[in-house]
C-alpha cells in the first residue's frame, strides 16, 4: 500500500484488531458463501429435476390411462377427452385438429414441436415464468413391439413457481445462516485479537519503562508461541542492556575515584612544595638573574599545579555527589563588588548593578562562579568587560559580556566540558581548564544554570541564572 493511500485510510481501520476482524469476517463470509452456494446449487438442481420428473410421470400416466379408450383416428371429441384427462393447461393435436385449454399454441417453441415430431419420445423444455412445457407424441405399438407415431401429440404446461419458491426459501435460509455466522466470527476475531494484543501492549509498556531507564523491566513469558519467543528475546535484550549500563557505570565511577585519589595524594606533597617555593621566592633577590628566572618559573608552575589539584578535588566532590551548598543571606551587589575588588578587577569591569539585591545562596560558590566568568572574560575576551546584575522575585541573573571575538561555532555548547580549550594550539593557559565546568556544576547545585552565547555587536556572553532564595540542594 502506498504512503499516499495510507493517509486516506482512517486510523481505526489500521489497527491489528480491525484487521483481524476483517480477515475473520472475510474468511467466514467466503466459506459460508461457498458452502451455501454449493448446497444451494445441488439442492436446486435436484428440486427442479424432481419436479420435472414428477410432472413427466404424471403426464405419461394420465395419457397412458386413456389411450386404450381413444377412438382412432380421433375426432374433436376424442381430443377433448384426452386433453381433459391430462389436465389443464394442456393441448392435444391430431393433424389439423386441435383441442386446447388454457394453453396458447404460441407458447410451444418450434424447437420443442420439432423434437416431439422427430424423436418419438417424451420431451420437455423450461421456459421463463418459470414454467415447464412437456410435449409428447402418442405412439401406436404393433403386435411385434415396434412403435410408431399415431399422429396425436399432447402438450402440457406445468408451473414451476412452487419450485422457485422452495429454492428462494432455501437461499434465504442459507443467507440467514451465513449472517448468523458473522457475529460468531467477530467474537472469535476479538478473542484472537485480545490474545495477540495483550502481549503486544505489555511489550509496549515494558519498552517505555526501559526508555525511562527502568532497566530491571522484564516481561512475563507465557506459552511457547512466537509472541512468547519475542518476549524472551526482549528480556534477553533488557538484561544485556542492564549489564552493559552497569559495567559502564562501574568503569566511570572507577575512573572518577582514581582522579579523586590521585588529587588527594598529590595535595600533601604539593603543600610542602608550596611552602618550599615560597621560601625560595623570598630568596630570589639574592639570586643571579638566571637562577631567579628559573626560581620564579618554578614558583609560578607550582601555584598553577596547586590550583589544578584543588579544582580536580572540587570536581571529584561534584562527581561523588559530596558537594553541598551552605545557603545564607547575601547582599549580591556587595558580594559581586567584593569579589571583583579582592581580585583587583574593579577597574577592569563595568559593573551594572543599579540596586542592592538580597538573596539566599551559598556565598562562596557564588563568588567562585562570578570570579570564573569575569576572569574568563578578561583572559579570553577584549575590554570593556561588562557585568550586569538583575533580579526578580524568583530569580537572580548575572550577565557577563566582553567585546572580544566571541564564541565561534559549536563552542557555546562545548565550553563547559572539562579541559576544553578553545585554541588547540594554546595548550597551556593560565586556567586549569576546569573553571567553567566547576562554575556550571555550582550553578546546577543551586538549581540554576549558565548559558553561553554571543552578544550581537559585542563578544562572548555568559548568563548565570540562580534561584533567588535557594534551599539546600545536594549535587548529583
Amino acid at each position: 500500500m502506498s504512503p499516499g493511500r495510507r493517509a486516506v485510510v482512517p486510523r481505526w481501520l489500521r489497527g491489528l484488531r480491525v484487521r483481524l476482524i476483517l480477515a475473520f469476517v472475510l474468511v467466514t463470509v467466503l466459506g459460508a458463501a461457498v458452502a451455501a452456494w454449493a448446497s444451494y446449487a445441488s439442492t436446486s438442481t435436484s428440486l427442479v429435476d424432481e419436479a420435472q420428473q414428477r410432472a413427466v410421470t404424471d403426464v405419461r400416466h394420465r395419457v397412458g390411462a386413456i389411450t386404450a379408450d381413444l377412438t382412432m383416428p380421433p375426432d374433436q371429441a376424442t381430443l377433448d377427452r384426452l386433453r381433459t384427462a391430462v389436465g389443464a393447461p394442456a393441448m392435444a393435436t391430431y393433424r389439423q385438429l386441435s383441442s386446447s385449454d388454457g394453453m396458447e399454441p404460441g407458447l410451444v417453441t418450434a424447437e420443442l414441436r420439432g423434437a416431439v415430431r422427430d424423436r418419438r419420445e417424451l420431451v420437455m423444455q423450461r421456459v421463463a415464468g418459470p414454467k415447464l412445457i412437456i410435449g409428447t407424441p402418442v405412439l401406436t405399438t404393433a403386435l411385434d413391439g415396434t412403435r410408431s407415431p399415431s399422429g396425436i401429440e399432447v402438450y402440457v404446461l406445468r408451473d414451476l413457481a412452487p419450485v422457485q419458491q422452495q429454492m428462494d426459501a432455501s437461499a434465504r435460509s442459507a443467507a440467514l445462516t451465513s449472517a448468523l455466522a458473522l457475529p460468531l466470527a467477530i467474537l472469535l476475531a476479538l478473542l484472537a485479537a485480545r490474545g495477540v494484543l495483550r502481549p503486544v501492549r505489555e511489550m509496549r509498556t515494558a519498552a517505555r519503562r526501559l526508555a525511562v531507564h527502568d532497566l530491571s523491566t522484564r516481561l512475563r513469558v507465557r506459552g511457547v508461541d512466537e509472541l512468547a519467543d519475542l518476549a524472551g528475546t526482549f528480556n534477553h535484550m533488557a538484561a544485556e542492556l542492564q549489564g552493559s549500563v552497569a559495567e559502564l557505570r562501574r568503569m566511570e565511577s572507577d575512573a572518577r575515584r582514581f582522579v579523586a585519589d590521585v588529587s588527594h595524594e598529590l595535595r600533601t606533597p604539593l603543600t610542602t612544595l608550596t611552602a618550599v617555593v615560597e621560601v625560595l621566592e623570598d630568596e630570589t633577590e639574592a639570586m643571579s638573574p638566571n637562577a631567579r628566572a628559573s626560581a620564579l618559573l618554578a614558583v609560578q608552575e607550582t601555584r598553577k599545579l596547586t590550583r589544578l589539584v584543588e579544582d580536580l578535588i572540587e570536581v571529584s566532590r561534584f562527581d561523588a555527589g559530596a558537594a553541598r551548598t551552605r545557603p545564607e543571606e547575601v547582599e549580591l551587589r556587595q558580594a559581586v563588588t567584593d569579589c571583583l575588588r579582592s581580585r583587583g578587577w574593579l577597574d577592569a569591569v563595568e559593573l551594572d548593578a543599579p540596586e542592592p539585591i538580597d538573596a539566599v545562596l551559598d556565598r562562596r560558590r557564588f563568588d567562585v562562579v562570578v570570579a570564573n566568568l569575569v576572569g574568563n572574560a578578561l583572559r579570553h575576551g577584549e575590554p570593556p568587560v561588562r557585568l550586569r546584575l538583575r533580579a526578580d522575585e524568583r530569580e537572580v541573573e548575572v550577565e557577563v559580556t566582553d567585546h572580544g571575538p566571541g564564541l565561534p561555532g559549536d563552542l557555546a555548547t562545548r565550553v563547559f566540558e572539562r579541559f576544553y580549550k578553545a585554541d588547540a594550539a594554546r595548550t597551556r593557559s593560565e586556567g586549569s581548564g576546569l573553571g567553567l565546568a566547576i562554575a556550571a556544576e555550582n550553578a546546577r547545585l543551586h538549581g540554576g544554570d549558565i548559558a553561553a552565547g554571543n552578544l550581537p555587536g559585542a563578544g562572548a556572553r555568559f548568563v548565570l541564572r540562580l534561584p533567588r532564595y535557594a534551599e539546600e540542594v545536594t549535587g548529583t
Binding site: V9, T67, T140, I152, V154
Partner: protein
C-alpha cells in the same frame, strides 16, 4: 485496506448475485423418457386355422380397448366363418358372463366363465394370445405371462403365446 474492502464488497455482491439470480433457468429441449402409447384403431383376436394353428384376426374396433374388452369380444364371436376360422371352446353355458381379468405388468390373470370340458388347450392359447396382444399394444412389458382359471377349478399357466415373439 481499501483493496480489502473492495474484495469484501465484491464477495458480498457475488454471494447476493448467486443467491438471487440463480433460479429456475429456461432450458433447451430435454429428454423426458418414453412416450405414452396404447392408441390403436384395431384389436387383434386369435382364432384357429384349418391345421389347428393360431391365426390373428384384426378387427376394426376404432380403439384398442382393454384386455377384458378383447376377451369378451372373442367369446362373443367364437366363430369367424368369413375367413374359415374357428375356436376351440364352446360358449353356450357361459351365456352372457364375461371373463374377469386382473392385469399387472408381469402377469395377467384371466378367470374364464368356462368349464374344462368346454375349452381345449388350443382354446386357452386363443385367450392367452389375445390377452398378451392387447397387453403389448397397450405399451406394457412384452414378456408378461398369463394364468387362466376355469370354472371347474383348473389353474393353467403361467403361459406365453406361442405365436407372439
Amino acid at each position: 485496506m481499501i483493496r480489502r474492502s473492495a474484495v469484501l464488497l465484491g464477495t458480498f455482491g457475488l454471494l447476493m448475485a448467486t443467491l438471487t439470480a440463480c433460479g429456475v433457468e429456461p432450458s433447451g429441449v430435454l429428454h423426458g423418457g418414453e412416450a405414452p402409447t396404447g392408441v390403436s384403431p384395431t384389436t387383434t383376436l386369435y382364432y384357429l386355422g384349418d391345421q389347428g394353428n393360431l391365426v390373428p384376426d384384426v378387427r376394426r374396433t376404432e380403439r384398442l380397448g382393454t384386455v377384458t374388452d378383447a376377451l369378451a369380444l372373442l367369446m362373443r364371436s367364437s366363430q369367424n366363418t368369413e375367413r374359415g376360422l374357428h375356436s376351440a371352446f364352446n360358449t353356450r353355458s357361459a351365456d352372457g358372463h364375461s371373463p374377469q381379468v386382473t392385469e399387472s405388468d408381469e402377469l395377467i390373470t384371466v378367470v374364464l366363465p368356462l368349464a374344462s370340458y368346454e375349452i381345449g388347450s388350443l382354446g386357452v392359447d386363443q385367450f392367452v394370445c389375445t390377452a398378451l396382444g392387447v397387453h403389448r399394444q397397450a405399451g406394457r412389458p412384452a414378456d408378461a405371462k398369463v394364468v387362466v382359471t376355469l370354472t371347474t377349478g383348473e389353474r393353467l399357466g403361467p403361459r406365453t403365446c406361442p405365436v407372439l415373439r
